[in-house]
């Protein structure tokens, strides 16, 4: 029993910090994409093109391979390549470009006419971003963050496979190595509950703030 509690806590820790760092990196990146895209309020084809390619590049790595490729980075930041904290590095790096795309998409959903109205009234760029773009896109951004967190829960189980700890690690040890199905199912049920809880919370928050 204690093993499951321990593994769940490890997973929660991985997911929480990986999500946090993915958002810290990804949200500004997505905003930058939107502002610099052709027709954006700070149009810059060079910046947009570069970001676009980098994000696509990072997103085309299969996660398992990205983890291995990022071992040196994990060692640099955390000091080791295995364990729960070390797994946070590749998880955050893998999720950040995903977050950037989600953010870009959410901001693109804001009616161009609404942004134009803000421009026509004499808003500065900062005012457009913080007073118009972000508030208008917030319900959609929250939904996007929900999807991100759920993705990271899935990835974190994979991270367990190569020494990341958490529920994924537990599932592999019992299910794969010892062929003990009941423990395997328990981890699956815990993961399902986690995903459901995150999705329900995300939906609820997004819906409660959406005035459309």
């Amino acid at each position: 029993m204690g093993e499951f509690v321990q593994a769940t806590l490890e997973t929660l820790q991985m997911v929480f910090f990986a999500s946090l760092f993915a958002l810290i990196m990804g949200l500004p990146l997505g905003l930058w994409l939107t502002l610099s895209k052709p027709g954006g309020i700070r149009e810059n084809r060079g910046v947009y093109g570069t970001l676009d390619v980098i994000i696509n590049l990072l997103r085309s790595f299969p996660f398992m391979i990205l983890m291995i490729v990022l071992f040196p980075l994990s060692r640099l930041i955390i000091g080791k390549t295995f364990g729960t904290t070390a797994a946070i590095v590749p998880l955050a790096v893998a999720a950040a470009p995903f977050v950037a795309r989600i953010m870009e998409q959410s901001l693109n959903e804001v009616d161009k006419g609404v942004v134009e109205a803000a421009v026509s009234m004499g808003s500065r760029t900062g005012q457009i971003i913080f007073r118009v773009l972000l508030p208008e896109a917030l319900p959609s951004i929250i939904s996007g963050i929900t999807i991100t967190v759920i993705n990271i829960i899935g990835y974190s189980a994979m991270a367990g496979a190569i020494g990341g700890g958490g529920l994924g690690d537990l599932a592999i040890r019992y299910g794969l190595h010892r062929r003990s199905m009941s423990e395997l199912w328990i981890t699956v049920v815990i993961l399902i509950v986690l995903v459901q809880a995150v999705q329900a919370a995300g939906n609820r928050i997004s819906r409660s703030i959406d005035r459309r």
Binding site: E116, A117, A118, R124, R131, V132, L138, I209, R212
Partner: protein, 342 residues
């Protein structure tokens, strides 16, 4: 009102876009002047370049060439900071309202006041005044999704007027509204001009809108301004054949090709301005001259300064008598044009 000084002078404005079909001259060497306190309308079919033109005025589109002097400043020469400040002296309303959907009615109207750096209590006073002005006092806490189209446009007008701009730009501001709501919005705009001394530049493809609210109208076609003048003049005696054709198109009258003479006579388009629209001129014509008259089409337009009647008739008879009849009509202040057959 025509004696007011110029608030906005545009000279030789041009804006082109590169499209798949080549270069599109959306605005082609357009010059005009709008005086303080007037309602100046641009009318034209869709694709005539009106929208691009109005968007050039506050530099939502940067013109390729030309000058826009607004309130003594050349808009095209301003640095970004100057442009932001100049835009705060203009309000804009849009066809699809463009309200902030996640902000309440109150917050929408407060936004330009926040931009202007007003204090909280001053903002509250002003928003309440504006809500009262547009008759939406009970909707302060509502969100745009809870409002009807007309109410949304009222909020947009309140937002546009909140920070005391000198100029309101309307980009098809009534095109998405039903006729009754359109009338109430136009009344509100007219009232704003009278009460607040604001100047309005509007574009529309709706003849009714232009006729009922504008002091002066400019007609646009293919990016060019083909004729401008006071509303009455433009409807009664347009100088350009293209304007006449254009007005006819918009009125959705019977096309000229359908106005074939029924009994071999000549076809004329008569315009009865003001007083003469109420006189029995046509029956006088028939009584005094030996001519056959067939009425082919007719219409009465209500403009701000009165009524203007249009009649397309066929006149048959002795050529000399027909000429005399035409002279009679001209003497009665009726504008007569022969409808050519092609």
């Amino acid at each position: 009102m025509n004696q007011g000084r110029a608030l906005l002078t545009a000279s030789h404005l041009s804006k082109h876009f590169t499209t798949e079909d080549g270069l599109l001259h959306a605005v082609n060497d357009v010059s005009f002047e709008v005086k303080q306190g007037e309602i100046f309308g641009f009318i034209g079919l869709s694709g005539a370049g009106k929208s691009t033109l109005v968007r050039c005025l506050n530099l939502l589109e940067r013109p390729d060439a030309g000058q826009i002097i607004f309130d003594g400043q050349d808009m095209t020469e301003l640095n970004p900071q100057g442009l932001i400040l100049a835009r705060r002296k203009m309000g804009m309303i849009f066809q699809h309202f463009n309200l902030f959907l996640q902000k309440s009615v109150y917050q929408n109207i407060a936004y330009p006041l926040y931009l202007a750096g007003e204090k909280e209590d001053r903002i509250r006073d002003r928003v309440m005044t504006m809500l009262d002005y547009v008759d939406l006092k009970d909707k302060s806490a509502a969100y745009p999704s809870e409002l009807s189209g007309g109410q949304k446009q009222r909020v947009a007008i309140a937002r546009a007027l909140a920070a005391n701009p000198k100029l309101i730009l309307s980009d098809e501001g009534t095109s998405a509204l039903d006729p009754e709501t359109t009338r109430s919005i136009l009344t509100l705009l007219r009232k704003s001009v009278q009460d607040l001394g604001v100047t309005v530049i509007l574009i529309t493809h709706q003849m009714e809108v232009a006729k009922s609210i504008c002091d002066r109208i400019a007609v646009m076609e293919d990016g060019r301004l083909i004729e401008e003048g006071p509303v009455e003049q433009l409807f009664v005696s347009p100088k350009q054949q293209r304007t006449i054709r254009f007005i006819q198109t918009l009125e959705d009258e019977i096309g000229e090709q359908d106005l074939k003479a029924l009994s071999g006579g000549r076809v004329f388009r008569l315009t009865f301005p003001g007083e003469s629209a109420r006189q029995p001129i046509l029956s006088n014509l028939i009584r005094r001259f030996d001519v056959e008259v067939n009425v082919l089409a007719g219409n009465i337009n209500v403009v701000r300064s009165g009524k203007i009647g249009y009649l397309t008739i066929e006149m048959a008879g002795d050529p000399a008598v027909v000429e005399a009849g035409l002279q009679f009509l001209t003497d009665q202040d009726v504008n007569v044009e022969e409808v050519k057959h092609g």
